[in-house]
Amino acid sequence: MRPQSAGNWLALPVVAALGALCLAPLAILFAYSFFSVDFVTISHDPSLKNYARILQSETYRGLIARAFGSGLLVAAITAVIGYPVAWFLAKRAGAAKTMLLTLLLVPLYSGDLLRIFAWRVLLGAEGAINRSLIWLGAIDAPLQGLLFSPLATHIALTYNYLPFMVIGLWLAFESLDDAWLEAAADLGAPGRDRFRRVTLPLTAPGLIAGGLMVFVMVVGDYLTPQLLGGASGVTVISAINDLFGTAFDWPLGSAIAWTMLAILMLCFGAGATLIRRSSLVAEGA
């Protein structure tokens, strides 16, 4: 058996499964986005009406913009929190590294639902944070805005996706050779310059990869805003859900879904190009 043909045979069932259960459904969704609803039946005359509706509707445009805004915000927050953690894991943790990495990933496997439940217990009007603040005398009455607000949503989103950012950055720090930093120090570069001109460019691929992962997952998150956001929990994803459920407008729902997918793919392509370019810089350094 030649290696090449063995590889093709191994890839075949995987491609078949992904084709049937990922590509085919998305293709049908794409087809539906050109249909329209006629009372209670779906008319199969293709048109661009749904996409025109999205472009004209301030609501949908706003929801889409907000989803991507949230994605960027959470990616930025996790980057700031995760950067020192990744550095520590790669350069300072020593023998504890494996254990710390495992510990970092464990909360990830408890499932979205349980993590959201925990945040609800923590942030509620009678929850742990409010009660502790009252006990400490910092506040008199519970902060009502803590739960069911964009703040609650973004805290939980940061919590959910921070490990992905740390893993991306950690891999970049692992391949960062300390000799570059020593060389920069020998040449008289102060700490700030060493960070800005050596560490940051060399870990940029990890930063972009981690950011991209977090961004994609925040944009696609359905449960967190839904269960913690209260009135602010209406997102473009929950709008798609409504259109497929109670509102019964599958074609419009499909069109919004494909608009999101198209933008996500563009972001991903741009991110991949940036990673390739910054890796070239890293190699050339």
Partner: protein, 257 residues
């Protein structure tokens, strides 16, 4: 610098474990209200959960989904990882992009898309559709886990087997397979955990038989009771045990090579 780093890492890990600690605390707190001050220790919430027949049925449904999903995704993930790392396929980049796709597509969008496909094909919703749907989103994870073990295998072992006259199949079975065994076990466990905690796809694709995650979600929306804490603790402990086992297996794989 290093001390500041240690402090920051402690804070971040504290943040990661704060919600879990809180659930654990309230799961044994003798009060209907989930708030401080704590009032005493009770096993009531655990007793309530363990005596709940509906949740017990949900748990069995979860197992009925998670076992086949874990097996299927481990096999497919192993095939994908071998194709990506060991046996060069011609369309490697395209293949890797395809594997990444289910991870990139928002779950809810994938779920409604699969729902339309099943409807068009006249397939009614059942545990089989849940298994099919979940497998696609878990496949990228098992692929990465098996690949992380495969890339550490020394290629010279395979060259040596070939030099000693082993056929491609023989060297796979006698050299590669034993070395990737740990990766397969780790992938199976992680897939099992991911499957049992998946909510969106499970809720969209399941028929009358409802898995634990779907039951928990509806409890969670309609009545928030302290016994949910007890359930959460049981699930988290079960998952932690499995993940720690999986990681231990995977790292043992690293040392053996």
């Amino acid at each position: 610098m290093s001390r500041l780093g240690t402090l920051w890492v402690c804070l971040v890990f504290g943040f990661m474990y704060l919600p879990i600690a809180m659930i654990a605390l309230f799961s044994v707190n003798a009060s209907d209200v989930m708030a401080f001050p704590l009032t005493g220790v009770t096993g009531q919430w655990f007793a309530e959960i363990l005596g709940d027949g509906r949740l017990g049925g949900g748990f069995l449904t979860t197992l009925a989904v998670a076992f086949p999903v874990a097996l299927l995704t481990t096999l497919l993930g192993a095939a994908a990882a071998l194709a990506l790392t060991f046996y060069a396929t011609r369309f490697r980049v395209l293949f890797a992009a395809l594997l990444l796709l289910p991870f990139l597509v928002p779950r809810l969008i994938l779920a409604v898309a699969q729902l339309i496909l099943f409807k068009e094909l006249g397939v009614s919703r059942s545990l089989l559709t849940v298994i099919a749907g979940q497998s696609v989103i878990i496949l990228p994870f098992t692929t990465v886990i098996v690949a992380s073990v495969l890339i550490r295998i020394d290629r010279r072992l395979i060259e040596a087997a070939a030099d000693l006259g082993a056929s491609g199949w023989c060297s796979f079975r006698r050299v590669v397979l034993p070395l990737m065994g740990n990766g397969l076990m780790a992938a199976w466990v992680i897939a099992f955990v991911l499957s049992s905690s998946e909510y969106v796809l499970t809720a969209f694709l399941s028929g009358r038989q409802q898995a634990l995650s779907v039951l928990v979600a509806s409890d969670f929306r309609f009545d928030l009771s302290p016994s949910l804490n007890a359930l959460a603790v049981l699930i988290v402990l079960g998952n932690i045990a499995l993940v720690v086992i999986a990681e231990a297996i995977r790292h043992r794989a690293g040392r053996l090579n």
